[in-house]
Symmetry: C2
């Protein structure tokens, strides 16, 4: 998506340690005209896939997931993060390792909302090592739902998660794929 690459080039900030700050338009302050454009692009990519539900993890994927779900005309669902692994029988749950924070957290989604007949589109703002996305795939598997694929705003290809998921047979569409940020310059995949 050309517009995403332009936004990253003009508004993104690269910090030491491979961190890309996009808080001005994507995951803290959100440019809503751009949000609508992202929703439309995701709906274009997955419009023929029979999606019945969009699934994300709180918090920063929610706006993008909502915009995509509005364009697709389906409900949007978000998995919640728990600090503890104490969950009850009303939810599906799995443990996700955060490489950023060096900790594990549990993600849960209600059994009432993620259903065996669902064809799910997974949406998130960032895809790096892929741990969060694998968590959403696992929740969908537990529910007996079909995963149509994933739509990601920004993929950091140099962290490998996206290509590993593709190699495992999961369709992953990223609106921008960053191959490297070496020397403070963003290089996109062509």
């Amino acid at each position: 998506m050309q517009l995403m690459e332009e936004k990253i080039r003009t508004e993104g900030k690269i910090l030491p340690g491979g961190i890309l700050k996009v808080g001005s338009f994507l995951n803290q302050q959100i440019d809503t005209g751009f949000l609508r454009a992202m929703g439309r692009e995701i709906a274009r990519l997955y419009g023929g896939s029979g999606i019945t539900k969009v699934l994300t993890i709180e918090a920063s994927g929610i706006a993008i997931a909502a915009a995509a779900a509005m364009e697709l005309g389906v409900p949007m669902l978000f998995a919640k993060k728990h600090k503890t692994s104490n969950v009850d029988g009303t939810v599906y749950s799995t443990v996700v390792h955060s490489f950023t924070h060096g900790t594990d957290y549990t993600v849960v989604v209600s059994r009432d909302y993620l259903l065996p007949g669902d064809t799910v589109l997974l949406v998130d703002d960032f895809l790096a090592n892929g741990a969060a996305l694998r968590g959403l795939v696992e929740l969908s598997r537990q529910a007996g739902a079909t995963v149509a694929g994933a739509a990601i705003a920004i993929e950091k290809a140099f962290q490998g998660g996206g290509d590993a998921l593709r190699a495992a047979g999961i369709r992953v569409e990223s609106l921008a794929v960053i191959e490297s940020m070496d020397g403070g310059t963003v290089t996109f995949r062509r």
Copy 2:
């Protein structure tokens, strides 16, 4: 908003302790057609107020805030919750007491995004005792921004927060105002 009252009556579940579960359409699974309608209603209510930014707190207010901001054609911004009060000079921060969980948490928003010239609309899914909303008012005050008012999906009037804020001179518009849930029956304000 008639549609909100209907959704609460038909899909809401009342649990002991004054808890209203609306996870099927509002704050876990989100009905996106309804989300768009909420955004339009909020934009209708505040369309003439010169809003420059919509502000919410993660996580369950994000989708509603995004829908409202899309309709108003302005950016949406969310304050983040921190477990600790350790914050640096790049953010505005305040402490919010959660009556639900009996704990305090710190909410922060970047000084880069909430600006003195902003006219802010505060959006959240629930308004009960008003602690979270007062936190957003305080962050806006620190930034020197003007608060045009608040738009809330569901206000529990029997917990008093909304009327206290109105008495303090803040415009509060709730899409449904619940006067009581006694005996498992929802009574709306007329």
